[in-house]
Symmetry: C2
Subunit: 180 residues, 2 copies
């Protein structure tokens, strides 16, 4: 099933991603073209507070032209380990440092055209720190939602949660809780 790369051409080199077009040879010997977004990868965190709430963020997303409810997340820096990145991003976006971090899953958000992988962690034993630093141009509001299965499914089914990584992170952590 594999496709062999015949040539690669970079067409854009931006802050968030690069755009590359590959010429490939298909299993049947024919040639085709693959349009690929090169992305460094990201982490997302499901942070539980002491009352069993999950700390989420709301921010305006230009791509979809609306304010979106999400779990805290951010891109890996060059050479950064995903767990370090998760601690850094959670603290920068919410001010909380997680004493405990457990891997939940790693997944590809847009396997058809993006190299991006997102590593999700569950964060517990949050310590409030004074450190909070947002990226230039990041305007974020903190929102708590109940860490309960029924409440989360309702939010998804009502269309209040529409972000892919957030649906995956919330559903998998409540499933894991149920199993423990």
């Amino acid at each position: 099933m594999e496709e062999k790369t015949l040539s690669s051409k970079y067409l854009y080199d931006g802050n968030i991603f690069k755009l590359r077009v590959d010429q490939v040879s298909l299993p049947n010997g024919k040639k085709s073209k693959r349009e690929i977004i090169e992305h460094r990868g990201a982490v997302a965190i499901v942070p539980y507070d002491e009352e069993g709430n999950i700390i989420c963020v709301k921010q305006y997303r230009k791509a979809v032209e609306q304010v979106v409810l999400e779990i805290p997340a951010g891109r890996l820096e060059e050479g950064e380990n995903p767990e370090e990145c998760a601690r850094r991003e959670l603290q920068e976006e919410t001010g909380f440092y997680p004493a405990e971090l457990k891997p939940v899953c790693s997944f590809y958000p847009a396997v058809g055209y993006s190299t991006e992988i997102i590593h999700i962690y569950k964060a517990e034993k949050l310590q409030k720190t004074s450190f909070m630093q947002r990226d230039e141009g990041e305007f974020i509001e903190i929102v708590k939602i109940p860490g309960k299965k029924e409440a989360i499914i309702d939010l998804i089914q009502k269309g209040d949660i529409t972000d892919g990584k957030t649906i995956i992170g919330l559903m998998l952590t409540v499933f894991m809780e149920e199993r423990e």
Copy 2:
């Protein structure tokens, strides 16, 4: 929180997406740049057979350089209604026509940089048709997985399912089954 568009510039117009860079003014009056992939949107289908299995597909994905296990899916054609698209894609990829189609959820796979929305449907009462037509350059193998919660979570936790829309579609449909 809204960002106003000051200007938009198209840098690439491909088969799968367009690339656009917007200059925006932020809530604090500063200016910034947003890199955006314009995508027409897609559907994904969770098709249940009579034995309670879910019909999935395996295909090589150049962006992540591996064979990926996914629920059937495809891009909307210009002006196409998502439900029509779901019936068409399921039939083209698997040969099954769904007599019953129920909406599961709609979500944004990559809210940070892509306009793409994916509409997920649960498909039942599948009718085997002789019609099966893959896109040029599509090599697909059909795989059945058990439509049971524990089996699905195991596949996700073992890393056998790594595609975002597939995790969301499978988990939400098994959750919905549990509730019924």
